[in-house]
Symmetry: C2
Subunit: 203 residues, 2 copies
């Protein structure tokens, strides 16, 4: 059985929990408190030299880091991975968009607002980050005007990657009201019968 | 024949030019001046709603954005893509690391230093970005102490993705002297007989 090192409030960790729930795949879940430095111990750095959750440990001890690489590994060959060269490239295009143009401007402001003290100097980063967050949402809004999911009619790991922080964008003070296509798409993702919320804690 | 929309000094664009050179694949090359807004025209935004180079246009007009998704598309099934589930996940792990933990802290400082005026307010971002750039180089240094390439003995698209900005880190004022394993790895990548430099302009 694989082990997932995670932190409950992490959208990056939630991506993996959500895919595992959709697949009905059992796993061992280990929560590390990132606020207390539990991902910076020498024991954990031996698993992931970049010191971040989520990290997936396979039965033989090999570890995979980076949430979207873990989604790829767990999703390969399942219904959430259309095995077509062009479609896979488009799926990866959205997943790299997520990490470069979305996560730092939606997830990071959410972290600053939700987890740092009200007088944190990092609050000065918010206006610029939120502006870029709205730009990312606008790119999604435009695309989702003509697509039910990011890749046409298929629910793929790209949707899981972008759903994770988009659906809690309000916690970053990003108002989704103007993004009606994005809100409709959130509903399509949530309609899966095995969908679980970000607060889902594996037993 | 595919068309690559690019900007000569972009490391992200260079990734694609380098892989195409290694593969010996002919293509049409269109340079857009990102400093003059040529990626923000309505004509280009119809190809890539995120308004960025590189963007690859296929013969039928379909476009793929995000440098690492393009590497995936062009590399799939070639010698630079080991077709093994675990190895592919590890390759993608490094490519997501590149976009999230390396590019904003190596490529962005290089852009600020090289392309913005000396009195640009963005220079204030440099100390923090360079600190994170050194952290990324340290992760690579540790891994490359026991690996010839990022994925063991194989030269893959993950090496191309990370080589692009690492080899010009000095242009971001990041000194590679302390990172001897990284410097040795740069040499292994450059040893390929079809290697081309970042200044390579397709005819």
């Amino acid at each position: 059985m694989v082990t997932l090192y995670d932190y409950l409030d992490s959208g990056n960790g939630y991506k993996v929990r959500l895919l595992l729930a959709l697949l009905g795949q059992p796993y061992r879940w280990v929560e590390l408190d990132i606020m207390q430095g539990q991902t910076r111990t020498s024991k954990f750095l031996a698993k992931n030299a970049n010191g971040r959750i989520p990290t997936l440990e396979l039965e033989d001890g090999i570890c995979i880091a980076e949430s979207n690489a873990i989604l790829w590994y767990l999703g390969e060959g399942t219904a959430f991975d259309p095995q077509d060269r062009l479609v896979r490239a488009q799926m990866l295009q959205w997943m790299f968009f997520e990490q470069y143009s979305h996560e730092p401007f939606v997830a990071t402001p959410r972290f600053i607002v939700k987890h740092l003290p009200a007088d944190s100097p990092r609050r000065a980063e918010l206006p610029k980050r939120l502006e870029q967050g709205r730009a990312a949402l606008t790119v999604m809004e435009s695309h989702l005007g003509t697509h039910r999911f990011l890749i046409g009619e298929r629910h793929t790991i790209a949707d899981i990657a972008l759903y994770a922080y988009t659906h809690v964008a309000h916690e970053a003070t990003l108002d989704l009201t103007p993004y009606s296509n994005v809100r409709a798409w959130l509903g399509h993702v949530e309609a899966h019968p095995r969908h679980v919320p970000i607060t889902y804690r594996p037993s």
